[in-house]
């Protein structure tokens, strides 16, 4: 059974999506998040489709894709499996990471549980390292209110440096604003400047040693700081994947818009 260690097949998925004329849209958006935060509910709310939802971790076991229209633009939405992290200790994490990293989404929305924000921020910070076009969807605001949890949205935006949109996905609350924010970020109408995590001094020094040379090799295709971290981490599955991506993305120049 090809369950782990091998490639996640994200290329096949992306390739298929690009070849399907229905998915020839103006932008592709990834929906990431911890398990059970309402990703599928957001997905259903925006696309009108019925991705399976339920209150137990792990019920989204396939990648679902759907389409919606906003201000005359067609947007593809991809519902990723729920993960706590993108450091790829499981097949789900690999799929999510590979799509965010190599699937070229025009924006990544991290759906977070407002009642448990600290835990969810772990993933948000990891996504921000891969792509600057990150949006935080602060879902389950109704539950947070019920539990008397108060969140300073502006403070959060400032601390993270990314747009934060509170939502009650189940009642479609805030989804209009989320659509607007996705539109602005995905179509490049909003300057993104996420505040990166600063690591322990030893790591930062090591990163500095690699980053300049890496930037030459990557030529802007991937975030050099993130790649440097992965190289230092030494996880060969992701390093091989990066190499493969660099090779294919050069040979495909001209094919892409």
């Amino acid at each position: 059974m090809g369950l782990t260690t091998q490639s996640t097949g994200i290329y096949a998925f992306v390739e298929e999506m690009h070849q399907d004329p229905n998915f020839n849209t103006d932008a592709v958006i990834a929906l990431a998040g911890n398990p059970n935060t309402g990703k599928s509910t957001v997905f259903n709310g925006l696309t009108g489709l019925n991705q399976h939802t339920g209150n137990w971790p792990g019920k989204t076991v396939v990648l679902a894709k759907g389409i919606y229209e906003h201000r005359g633009k067609k947007i593809t939405l991809v519902d990723l499996p729920g993960t706590y992290s993108l450091l790829a200790n499981s097949a789900d994490e690999q799929v999510a990471r590979d799509f965010i990293c190599f699937g070229n989404p025009d924006a990544t929305v991290v759906v977070a549980d407002a009642t448990c924000l600290e835990r969810n921020l772990n993933l948000v910070l990891q996504v921000m390292e891969i792509t600057p076009k990150t949006i935080l969807c602060l879902n389950l605001i109704d539950e947070a209110k019920r539990k008397a949890i108060r969140i300073d949205r502006n403070g959060l935006e400032r601390l993270l440096g990314i747009p934060v949109v509170p939502t009650v996905a189940r009642d479609k609350g805030g989804l209009a604003e989320l659509e607007n924010t996705i539109h602005e970020v995905a179509l490049g109408k909003r300057q993104m400047n996420p505040r990166q995590t600063i690591y322990h001094q030893a790591i930062e020094e090591a990163l500095r040693e690699l980053q300049a040379e890496l930037e030459e090799v990557l030529q802007g295709k991937l975030n050099s700081r993130w790649v440097a971290l992965r190289l230092l981490d030494g996880d060969s599955s992701i390093i091989d994947e990066i190499r493969r991506y660099l090779i294919t993305s050069t040979t495909q120049v001209g094919k892409e818009v």
């Binding site: 059974m1 090809g2 369950l3 782990t4 398990p35 059970n36 019925n50 939802t53 339920g54 209150n55 137990w56 971790p57 792990g58 019920k59 076991v61 396939v62 992290s85 499981s90 097949a91 924000l117 600290e118 921020l121 772990n122 990891q126 539950e143 539990k147 008397a148 949890i149 108060r150 969140i151 300073d152 949205r153 403070g155 959060l156 601390l159 189940r170 009642d171 995590t197 600063i198 690591y199 322990h200 030893a202 790591i203 090591a206 040693e209 690699l210 040379e213 890496l214 030459e216 090799v217 971290l229 190289l231 230092l232 981490d233 030494g234 190499r243 660099l246 090779i247 993305s249 050069t250």
Partner: protein, 464 residues
């Protein structure tokens, strides 16, 4: 990437390796720690948290996972769901079957009026229409009640608590704790349960979960179980008592769980040796489901979906069964001949040839087993109107049934080979013919063994 670029990338990979070796911190540990610490700092600045030590979730969990109440509550909830399903479905089922079988008369009248040949009437009305009518009237109402109830528990967040309560049993069986979640999905449909096994990371434990998912009775089998329970088990306790029937069905589920654990254990000691992998399970906060959406979703996505699949299979199955039951070779119908061959074996395990034949012909979908069986029995001359549980009971009694037959029918239905859709799903998920074959053989072996034992014991004790 040009070759020299690839070289420079590889060079950097080596360089990074060298740099890492010089560092005296564990990089991965430090990275995760730094990220979590920043998350903590941000949350401390932007989030005001109340004390959660006494919140409602904890109070609920105190009961739901309590030493004393945890298990009884699980069984009570299961029984309650079945009881609501059985009693709630009774009246609408009756109504539907009156309407649908009433319409059969009209159809027959129409065929007579049009001067259609008897065989055409047989194939289309007695075969196709009757089978469809049975499947719809018997399956639709219970599913329309069961699925919303089950979805309610699912959306509420109860399922992970079940996994939490039962995990130790699964650990002892060498299986993964999340297997119970995939089993819960199997209640709806085993094919869905098998897809849900993807949440289990370790290939070994995932295979165990796939191979045993069938021991959870899916919705296609509930009508059979409920009908059998109502016909015979209920009759044991004063009339057709829906409490008793619900108890029987809940008990059947417990037997299914016990067999799952036993088979999982055997598998993890033989074909799929190994120790349980890491297990962490989040117990999410309870969330009150939105009833409106829940009803629409569970009826549209689950009930109608499963019903349509059953209907698609039931139509041709009705036609084929009618033909087999009415085309004679020599002085016997094909069905009678086939059943005759199976009869000896069937009786040894407390069933009969027709029952085994119905299970075999029902391979495409479990929900058509009972209609096929009824059609086979009906073709044997005793033509009666099958419009109530009492009539069904009479028909079965006329064909030599005892409570042992009903009991073993329940057990066989619970344990036997999965339907074709489920087997195809196993094939797709495992990419292996070997495991697919085993997914059919293991349950069948278990079904035969259990039915054989029960039949022998009951007969030896002279209970029938």
């Amino acid at each position: 990437m040009a070759a020299n670029q690839e070289n420079s990338f590889n060079h950097l990979v080596f360089k990074a390796q060298a740099v890492r070796k010089q560092m005296n911190t564990n990089l991965r540990d430090q990275v995760v720690k730094d990220i979590y610490q920043r998350a903590e700092e941000i949350a401390a600045k932007a989030v005001a948290l109340p004390d959660t030590r006494n919140d409602l979730d904890r109070k609920i969990d105190n009961i739901v996972t309590s030493r004393i109440w945890g298990y009884p509550l699980m069984f009570a909830l299961l029984s309650l769901v079945f009881w609501l399903t059985i009693t709630g479905a009774n009246y609408p089922s009756q109504l539907l079957s009156n309407v649908l079988f009433g319409f059969q008369e009209q159809l027959t009248g129409f065929f007579r009026w049009a001067g259609a040949p008897a065989w055409l009437h047989g194939v289309l009305v007695l075969g196709l229409y009757r089978c469809l009518a049975w499947v719809v009237s018997v399956m639709l109402p219970p599913m329309a009640i069961f699925f919303p109830l089950f979805t309610f528990l699912e959306d509420l967040g109860y399922l992970p608590r079940v996994a939490f309560n039962l995990d130790k049993l699964f650990k002892k069986a060498g299986a993964h704790g999340k297997q119970i979640l995939t089993m819960c999905m199997g209640f709806g449909c085993n094919a869905a349960g098998i897809i849900a096994c993807r949440i289990i990371e370790s290939p070994r434990e995932r295979l165990i979960a796939i191979l045993t998912n069938n021991f959870v009775p899916c919705n296609g089998r509930f009508p059979t179980l409920i009908a059998m329970a109502a016909v015979f088990m209920g009759a044991l306790a004063a009339g057709t008592n829906s409490f008793a029937a619900a108890g029987v069905v809940a008990g059947v589920v417990l037997i299914g769980i016990a067999v799952t654990l036993l088979v999982s254990r055997i598998l993890s000691k033989t074909l799929l040796k190994g120790v349980p992998s890491t297990f962490t399970l989040e117990l999410p906060p309870y969330r009150m489901p939105k009833i409106g959406t829940l009803l629409i979703r569970s009826i549209l996505d689950r009930t109608i979906f499963v019903l349509m699949r059953a209907v698609v299979v039931a139509a041709p199955a009705g036609v084929i069964t009618w033909i087999l039951a009415n085309v004679t070779i020599g002085d016997m119908s094909i069905v009678a001949r086939l059943a005759g061959w199976l009869d000896g074996f069937g009786r040894i395990i407390g069933l009969d040839g027709y029952i085994l034949l119905a299970f075999l012909l029902g391979l495409p979908a479990n929900e058509i087993v009972v209609p096929i069986l009824i059609m086979c029995y009906l073709a044997q001359g005793t033509m009666l109107e099958l419009d109530s549980i009492e009539a069904l009971r009479q028909l079965l009694l006329n064909n030599g049934w005892t409570w042992l037959t009903a009991l073993n029918m329940i057990l066989f239905s619970l344990l036997h080979f999965p339907c074709a859709t489920t087997l195809l799903t196993v094939r797709k998920e495992t990419q292996s013919t070997k495991w697919t074959v085993l997914a059919a053989l293991i349950p069948t072996g278990a079904a035969i063994a259990v039915c054989f034992l029960v039949a022998q014991i009951v007969r030896a004790l002279g209970l029938v």
